[in-house]
């Protein structure tokens, strides 16, 4: 295998084999990163503590009181680690604060029929699984909030409550890094010779 062993320079990441949880369903389509974490919360210099601002303008009223009808505030949503959302989740800005906020809140996977490119890339680097699945399975999940499902990263399958499984695509190297708790930066740092050759060829 061309993969590196975990180098001393690699960031400590917990290996992820699977995520098993009830789902919470946010049916809106085109949920953009300004909804996930509004820009006024980006005036920070750390990654920590953004979960309390997740979906802030949907979760709280003008006085900062949680809106009782918003799905993440419902008692049955507490502790759910898998978010099922409408098509084209995470569109808009490149802010990595979006996956940081979801992770800090306790979300470990997002399931949709389409997930924006930059959000997906950022999510994978933080151990948040972005799952794109077929429309029929997605429609079933949208209609069954609170379903107990399991995402198996080793077999790249989503296991549904009735025992059925569906496959999901995931970039091979990102999957390898997640399964083994390896940070991608370690791999890039090991490419130093090739990068230097490129710099000499194209100064």
């Amino acid at each position: 295998m061309p993969y590196p062993q975990n180098t001393s320079q690699s960031y400590e990441m917990q290996p992820i084999k699977s995520v098993k949880s009830r789902t919470v369903v946010l049916p809106s389509t085109d949920i953009d990163t300004d909804q996930i974490i509004p820009a006024r919360f980006l005036r920070t210099t750390t990654k920590e503590g953004l979960g309390k601002q997740l979906f802030s303008d949907w979760r709280y009223d003008a006085n900062g009181t949680p809106k009782t009808d918003f799905v993440l505030n419902l008692p049955e949503s507490q502790g759910a680690a898998i978010l099922v959302a409408g098509n084209n989740f995470g569109c808009g800005s490149s802010r990595e604060h979006a996956p940081w906020a979801l992770m800090d809140f306790g979300i470990r996977a997002v399931i949709s029929t389409e997930i924006a490119d930059i959000f997906s890339s950022n999510a994978l680097k933080n151990g948040l699984l972005p799952l794109v699945i077929d429309k029929a399975t997605h429609a079933w999940l949208m209609e069954h909030p609170g379903a107990d499902v399991e995402i198996d990263l080793e077999t790249t399958t989503l296991k549904l409550p009735d025992g059925k499984s569906v496959k999901f695509p995931i970039e091979a190297f990102a999957r390898y890094c997640l399964l083994n708790g390896i940070d991608e930066l370690g791999y890039l740092l090991n490419q130093d010779d090739a990068i230097s050759r490129h710099e000499r060829a194209y100064p």
């Binding site: 295998m1 061309p2 993969y3 320079q9 960031y11 049916p27 809106s28 389509t29 085109d30 953009d32 300004d34 909804q35 509004p38 820009a39 006024r40 980006l42 005036r43 920070t44 210099t45 750390t46 990654k47 303008d57 003008a62 409408g86 098509n87 084209n88 569109c91 808009g92 800005s93 490149s94 802010r95 990595e96 996956p99 389409e114 924006a116 490119d117 930059i118 890339s121 950022n122 680097k125 933080n126 970039e171 091979a172 190297f173 390898y176 991608e184 930066l185 791999y187 890039l188 740092l189 490419q191 130093d192 090739a194 990068i195 050759r197 490129h198 710099e199 194209y202």
Partner: protein, 466 residues
């Protein structure tokens, strides 16, 4: 087989290691633009892992997102009002000093919105790979660069290795036939394109904009087009460089000079899609059939010709939710709808020609009673150039505010905000809920349409003022 698209030529020239089934490509990055909001955590990572910045000479830093736009705050006559913004600004100053990175800081004559100063200084060039922790990095593709936004973890990767792990995206050609009619701007064209292919229509793709209408555009206009590629879901949009591109770059301080210039131009002439090169997808659009466009919903794909009426979609709860937020009703005509604020600014439309266009519309008129108009140049250079032409006077005489450069009300994280329920005709790029302030309602449009709305206090076809 030897026929390649523009994207393929730039991509392949930057492959340090090509991709395999198991591993993404290692892609070399020529220019890394950084700003205060998406970098502090990346520098923290470098320090934690005791890593160096590999090529500080390939990085250009500025501050734009959280910076205020009042002259008093920018030039330190009063402290920056928002303590958290001041902290980010000081953090970037510290990081650039420690790692030896060129910073166009708060009072620098060349400071401005990151995607405006790259081209303005000639750092953005054809054939380069350019990244920044900002999704509107697509802007630089107007020069035939492969430019895309990245997250903060990737900012760290580029700082440490000048490279990124990337899967090769698909290609989408958008062929724009005909010419834009008089009074129809590049902004109207890109809004029409997004309306046609949808906000997820470019996901997984790099767009190449081509055709007669694109070739006829100025560099400022091409940047407006490429800038909003991300609003169609595409991380990057490109336009093949031509004489317009070379003329723009010639003599700019970071562009090649002398013999190096001639050599560079010769290489840049090769940067175009070969006849017969295959794209994964192609979409055709006729520019000559367009009219000024304006958005009415909560994403840029919810857009109409300005003479249009809000559609009716009875069985679409997401559509109903968006209209409810916007205070719009199905069937409602957009023309003459009252508005509260006009914002001329952002990396989409705050270049000199945008400001000139808005000034041309508003010259000799007044901003309507009860309407606030904010004009925020994209860079300090643009601000000074506009002032040399007397444009600031035109806006000030009309009753508008004239500010220092920055992202301002496009992102609403710097003190420039719209209020709940207020309608903002904005030359920026995103009309998402709350983007310009909690509860604010954004209507995206061209600088001419925005300025016309300021005069009448209502949504207005700008052609009557042109």
């Amino acid at each position: 087989m030897s026929q390649k698209t523009l994207f393929e030529k730039v991509w392949e020239r930057h492959e340090v290691v090509p991709e395999t089934a198991d591993t993404p490509a290692v892609l070399y990055i020529d220019l890394h633009l950084i700003h205060e909001v998406t970098t502090p955590q990346a520098f923290t990572l470098l320090r934690e892992q005791n890593l160096k910045v590999r090529r500080p000479d390939r990085i250009l830093a500025t501050m734009d997102h959280s910076t205020p736009t009042t002259t008093e705050e920018i030039f330190g006559r009063i402290p920056i009002r928002m303590e958290s913004a001041a902290q980010q600004i000081h953090k970037l100053e510290d990081n650039c000093r420690e790692f030896g990175i060129e910073l166009l800081g708060m009072t620098h004559k060349d400071r401005g919105i990151v995607h405006i100063i790259g081209p303005e200084l000639g750092a953005t060039q054809p054939g380069k790979t350019i990244v920044c922790g900002d999704s509107h990095t697509a802007t630089h593709g107007a020069f035939g660069a492969l430019a895309f936004g990245i997250g903060t973890t990737e900012v760290g990767h580029v700082l440490a290795t000048q490279s990124l792990l990337q899967r090769r995206p698909k290609t989408l050609a958008i062929n724009v036939k005909g010419r834009l009619p008089a009074g129809v701007a590049a902004k109207d064209l890109i809004l029409a394109i997004i309306g046609k292919i949808g906000v997820g229509g470019g996901t997984g793709h790099v767009i190449e904009y081509r055709g007669e209408a694109i070739s006829a555009l100025s560099m400022d206009e091409r940047m407006t087009i490429c800038n909003m590629s991300i609003e169609a879901g595409a991380r990057a949009g490109m336009i093949a460089p031509d004489e317009t591109t070379f003329e723009y770059l010639n003599g700019r301080p970071k562009a090649p000079q002398g013999a190096a210039w001639d050599k560079a131009v010769a290489a840049w002439r090769e940067l175009k899609s070969d006849a017969g090169a295959r794209f994964d997808r192609e979409v055709d659009i006729d520019a000559s059939a367009l009219e000024p466009m304006i958005t009415y919903g909560t994403h840029p794909g919810m857009v109409l010709p300005i003479s249009g009426s809000v559609p009716t979609k009875p069985d679409d709860p997401a559509f109903a939710k968006a209209l409810n937020y916007m205070g719009m009703t199905p069937g409602e005509r957009l023309l003459d709808k009252p508005i509260n604020i006009v914002f001329i600014g952002s990396c989409t439309n705050a270049r000199l020609s945008d400001i000139q266009l808005a000034a041309r519309v508003i010259k000799g008129h007044k901003v309507a009673a009860g309407v606030r108009m904010l004009v925020v140049p994209g860079s300090q250079q643009i601000k000074h150039a506009a002032e040399a032409l007397g444009l600031d006077k035109i806006f000030l005489d009309a009753g508008a505010e004239w500010r220092e450069s920055g992202c301002s009300m496009c992102i609403g994280m710097n003190g420039d905000l719209a209020g709940k329920g207020e309608y903002v005709v904005s030359t920026s790029n995103r009309n998402f809920e709350g983007r310009q302030g909690q509860g604010a309602r954004t209507l995206l449009a061209s600088p001419a349409t925005a300025a016309a709305a300021a005069i009448r206090g209502r949504i207005t076809d700008p052609r009557q003022f042109l």
